[in-house]
Symmetry: C2
């Protein structure tokens, strides 16, 4: 039996699972580790393989929170560097594939069941052949586009949407934009829609209202806003939710994803109470003459820690079919 090792290496945790030659995930093989528990991903892979009682793998697919087009991968939020060669040596595999984590989520979409998806707004029926976008808002911001080809395969491509220009629509937002742009000359989307963006926006609200900064991280700010225990935190979450809605709307006009918009990431989860408000959908559809068009796109929340692993499996399958010329 051939064995595939699938891993999702995030900024904080690494998740593993094994799959057989039919690309069925092996029951009970799922394990998650803190990245800080190992000195390198190579050592973490060896540890996992030992625990699973395997010496080598036929295929390895790693979903990475990093650009994967360079020879050496430098993880975006953890001090790990590695190459296809070093992972190949650690896993005793000749077939190692790196994919971007948002691309993995994109591949995983087709296998998600109703319990892993939460309908947020727009039509409930998905145009299964229509293009989809998966948006990740967490440490950073990005989007991947998923197109279904005529042979049923999915073509998935991550963009650099987090680096697009941050938009503003009010004088207050423009002042926030200037604060976020300080020392850089510009503010990109992920300067606002990210964990760090929430923290900086909160600091900006505290500063202009001469209020002490009580909360230091995005998680505490979102909790204080939910509890209504800190007005500056509430203003922060409302402002970021509004910018998030507008930004998603702009990406919808760029990609026309009739197959749906799938929101993921820790910032998406922290913003859930705000995403459910009518004001969020109002800001999303506020595209002038395209107001009606904007109602045609289903918005979903992607609730699954293992979605990227499912995506690795599908990417591995497509990759190996392609290698075999099928």
């Amino acid at each position: 039996m051939s064995i595939s090792l699938l891993a999702d290496i995030g900024g904080t945790n690494t998740r593993f699972v094994l799959a057989n030659n039919n690309c069925d995930v092996l029951f009970d093989s799922y394990e998650a580790f803190r990245n800080t528990s190992a000195e390198s991903p190579e050592l973490l892979i060896k540890r996992y393989m030992k625990r699973q009682g395997i010496d080598s793998c036929d295929h390895v697919v790693l979903a990475l929170a990093a650009p994967v087009n360079e020879e050496e991968v430098v993880l975006t939020n953890h001090n790990w560097r590695f190459t296809v060669k070093s992972i190949s040596a650690a896993s005793m595999s000749n077939d190692v594939l790196f994919i971007n984590d948002l691309e993995a989520l994109g591949y995983g979409l087709s296998e998600l069941g109703a319990e892993q998806l939460q309908h947020l707004a727009g039509p409930r029926s998905l145009d299964k052949k229509g293009p989809r976008i998966v948006i990740g808002a967490g440490t950073g911001f990005n989007a991947a586009i998923v197109t279904q080809l005529e042979n049923g395969e999915h073509f998935v491509k991550a963009m650099e949407a987090g680096h697009m220009t941050l938009t503003v629509e009010t004088q207050d937002e423009f002042e926030l934009w200037q604060y976020l742009a300080k020392g850089r000359g510009r503010a990109s989307v992920e300067r606002a829609i990210s964990g760090r963006g929430i923290e900086q926006t909160y600091q900006w609200f505290c500063q202009r209202n001469s209020t002490p900064v009580v909360h230091m991280n995005a998680r505490d700010i979102s909790i204080a806003a939910s509890n209504q225990s800190d007005l500056m935190a509430e203003k922060t979450m409302q402002t970021i939710a509004n910018i998030f809605a507008r930004t998603i709307g702009d990406l919808v006009l760029a990609f026309l994803p009739t197959g749906g918009i799938f929101l993921s990431g820790s910032v998406t989860r922290a913003m859930m109470p705000w995403l459910r408000r009518a004001s969020f959908f109002d800001a999303f559809v506020a595209k002038g003459r395209q107001y009606d068009l904007m109602h045609q796109f289903p918005l979903y929340i992607l609730n699954d820690d293992q979605a990227a692993l499912h995506g690795c499996k599908i990417a591995a399958k497509q990759h190996s079919l392609r290698l075999r010329g099928m």
Copy 2:
């Protein structure tokens, strides 16, 4: 011999050409008419067919400056309304295909020779398999994405990029944004990057500088700016060119078009002297950490009145192969 009638129906002119069953354009069949010379597109088609000595066509492909997903097409800038049925009756053809004019340009890209493309900036070599975007800036603003499939066919899709939020980076630009947003609550990309956008931006510069409005239309404004005969016109063209560069840059981050960016339309042509300045490319690549990435995309000007007709031909070919199940 089977005959295809190809037409590009713009807001002002309609261009025709015939093609044979191999989709080769018939020499000498090209003709262009002012839309005002006929009461309806049906009558114009009949007139053209009569002049060419044909009674019926096997295929008809129309490239339209209008959304084509509705049953009835309403031309964006000319008072013509028509349907597949009415065009079918006029042309005596059972196979009528409507495509968006930017999609037609997208299909046409693959057939353009060096003389129809003018290199503007970025690498000169095109990644022929990479995705391309064609951007039209004229009466309105839009973009289409062109992806080459594994079978060599092109998949082309027009977006609604003109309705995305107009970005700003300075207090002056935000004040212009507010002027353009007046009565609407928001300003979209095409409120600035269009003929009307040039006119309104010029009026805004005149108003804030207490200078009389000398020029009424975009063409005159661009000529006065080129001549350096009107400082407000110069400021206008420089501002719009800067916004154009930034907007193209944002679309590049959304689509990563390694196959190239192709600029077309009357506003693109009017802005040529500004597009050639170093400040244009500087604004295009000013994407923070993505500065190096931004140098990897070739920028071209598309110089061909007949490019959309070439695109109709290719669309017709793909369409008929698909109908025949090939």
